[in-house]
């Protein structure tokens, strides 16, 4: 779909393997994962729990170390990419520091990375605007709703201009209505910033609505069963979810999930 994506992939996984050694014996979390993600892609990872979707995202972020195969991020090893602050990571919980205001929470990565205080202020107001939290910079996290807190944590991940945004079920703990709203906002944000996004979810409509590429995974061992390039246009109003194309993609995702399940 994307004509500009003929360049070097942002993320490239080749025969990626990860086995955890646990007290109950080895757990094969990822097996033979091959995937390439291009610049500007919005890639969703979907699958039942234990399929390795979060583990794969954590490998990209160098929070886990693969035990086999190769993985590059921006042409570097994941750990080099982490040191170069190549990505922003959004966790399932907002994880804002209760002792910092929203603005100060967003400044946290900027302080760590040594931005000047003038630049910190400028960036904070820019990303607060991006996530539609203008005027909330001086509030403490407990004064905000769950959805607003999660938006603040996205702003924190955006603050330092990493081209890659990794999101691990960021809206998993929120209710349906808030989730729809945030999905819409996330698409708008993606269009404005042209970032590459890796997004873990277990919701089929969410994955189909958001993504240009949907990676369907299945458990034991964690592996990719299908990669779907979405035919949906980049411009997506919420009611696109009633269109035949949307329903067809959702159907294919469901088939992929079922196929992954039938062989265990």
């Amino acid at each position: 779909m994307n004509t500009e994506s003929t360049t070097e992939p942002v993320i490239e996984a080749n025969q990626l393997d990860l086995t955890f050694q646990t007290n109950d014996g080895p757990v094969h979390a990822l097996k033979d994962v091959n995937l390439s993600i291009n610049k500007g892609d919005f890639v969703s990872f979907i699958g039942p729990s234990g399929c390795g979707k979060t583990t794969f995202l954590r490998c990209i972020a160098a929070l886990e170390t693969p035990t086999g195969g190769t993985l590059t991020v921006n042409g570097m090893t994941p750990d080099e990419a982490r040191r170069n602050r190549a990505y922003g990571y959004v966790f399932q919980a907002a994880g804002l520091y209760p002792w910092r205001t929203i603005a100060k929470n967003i400044k946290l990565p900027l302080e760590i990375m040594g931005y000047s205080s003038a630049e910190q202020d400028e960036r904070v107001s820019k990303v607060l605007d991006l996530v539609d939290l203008n005027g909330f910079g001086g509030k403490f996290p407990w004064q905000l709703s769950g959805g607003m807190q999660q938006r603040a944590s996205i702003a924190r991940a955006l603050a330092f201009d990493a081209d890659l945004l990794l999101m691990d079920e960021p809206f998993g703990a929120l209710d349906e209505i808030v989730r729809d709203h945030l999905n819409e906002q996330l698409l708008a944000l993606w269009a404005r910033t042209e970032k590459t996004i890796g997004f873990v979810t277990h919701s089929i409509p969410e994955a189909v609505y958001l993504s240009t590429k949907i990676v369907v995974m299945s458990p034991r061992p964690g592996r990719i069963t299908d990669v779907i390039d979405s035919p949906l246009p980049k411009e997506r109003p919420l009611d696109i979810r009633d269109s035949p194309e949307f329903i067809e993609v959702a159907h294919r995702v469901r088939e992929g999930l079922r196929a992954g399940h039938s062989d265990d």
């Binding site: 966790f91 002792w99 407990w142 330092f160």
Partner: protein, 310 residues
């Protein structure tokens, strides 16, 4: 005041009232034999009239036979258990009525104990925080320091205090320092335990987040671990300061009753001055309550300013 405030005020008052009543009631059997002996010597007729006969009698039986003497059990000079008003009078006498420079002023003695307490608390807190930081950051320290810290608290301080004083005296250190060291010895432990827990309180996600920023260990300490440990620190400090006060009082016992609340306790027991002992005990309790209360106020304002209390 809200209605729940009024209700809890009355509840507290009721509890205090019950304790005082119980105390007065307990003073009667505790003191009845002494009172009857005094009355017998003063020529009054008591039943039975012979001290030897009374010695083996049950206190409650004596009270029934000599109910006229009940008032006297609350007014003795050296009762076994002084009545509340006697302790209150002594407290008033030795604080408000005496000049604070007087050796008989409880304020003077409290100040002596308080200064050692504060110095010991400062040393203990500083040491406790340093050890906790080391334990959290170094596995070797975790394995080597923590067991010793625990062992240190199993030794009765009353056994250790005289040795600390003797050893320090032999190298020429006396006065406030040995007391402060004993006090620090008791107060560092809750600070170590609380701070280790506090500095380890950030969860795996918080630590992962800092890792994604490629934050250094010291950034992780100053920006995450230390602020996250603040509620734990204050809880430990409240325990620590009470322990400090106990340490300072214990440290005063072996020095021969010169000055301080510990000295008052010791002097009181030398001369059978139970009223003096009880008033010194109350002075210590009031002092501890004030110190803990003060820390509570500081805690509230610090955590409020940090946005961690509403």
């Amino acid at each position: 005041m809200t209605s729940t405030g009024v209700r809890s005020f009355w509840a507290v008052l009721t509890v205090v009232g019950v304790i005082i009543l119980f105390w007065y009631a307990a003073s009667v059997p505790m003191n009845i034999k002494g009172v009857l002996t005094e009355l017998e010597r003063a020529g009054e007729s008591v039943d039975p009239p012979n001290a030897a006969d009374r010695r083996d009698m049950n206190e409650f039986g004596l009270i029934l036979d000599n109910s006229f003497a009940i008032d006297e059990t609350w007014e003795q000079d050296r009762p076994r258990l002084p009545a509340p008003h006697q302790v209150a009078e002594e407290l008033w006498d030795s604080t408000v009525e005496k000049k604070i420079t007087s050796k008989r002023s409880l304020i003077y003695h409290s100040w002596v104990t308080l200064s050692a307490t504060m110095l010991g608390f400062a040393i203990g807190t500083g040491l406790g925080i340093l050890l906790a930081v080391g334990i959290v950051h170094s596995r070797v320290m975790d394995l080597s320091v923590m067991p010793w810290a625990i062992v240190s608290q199993t030794i009765p301080i009353i056994a250790l205090a005289p040795m600390i004083i003797v050893v320090l005296y032999s190298v020429g250190i006396q006065g406030i320092i040995p007391k402060a060291i004993i006090s620090a010895y008791l107060s560092f432990f809750p600070v170590v335990v609380g701070m280790v827990k506090g500095l380890r309180s950030p969860d795996a996600m918080q630590l992962d987040l800092l890792r994604t920023y490629n934050a250094s260990q010291s950034q992780g300490f100053w920006k995450l671990r230390l602020p996250a440990s603040m509620p734990y620190l204050f809880t430990s400090l409240k325990i620590g300061i009470a322990a400090s006060l106990v340490g300072a009082i214990v440290g005063e016992l072996p020095t021969g009753a010169v000055a301080g609340l510990g000295a008052r306790l010791l002097a009181g027991s030398y001369y059978g001055q139970t009223v003096q002992i009880w008033s010194a005990l109350f002075a210590a309790a009031i002092l501890a309550a004030c110190l803990v209360g003060l820390l509570g106020l500081i805690e509230r304002s610090v955590l409020k300013r940090m946005g961690m209390a509403q």
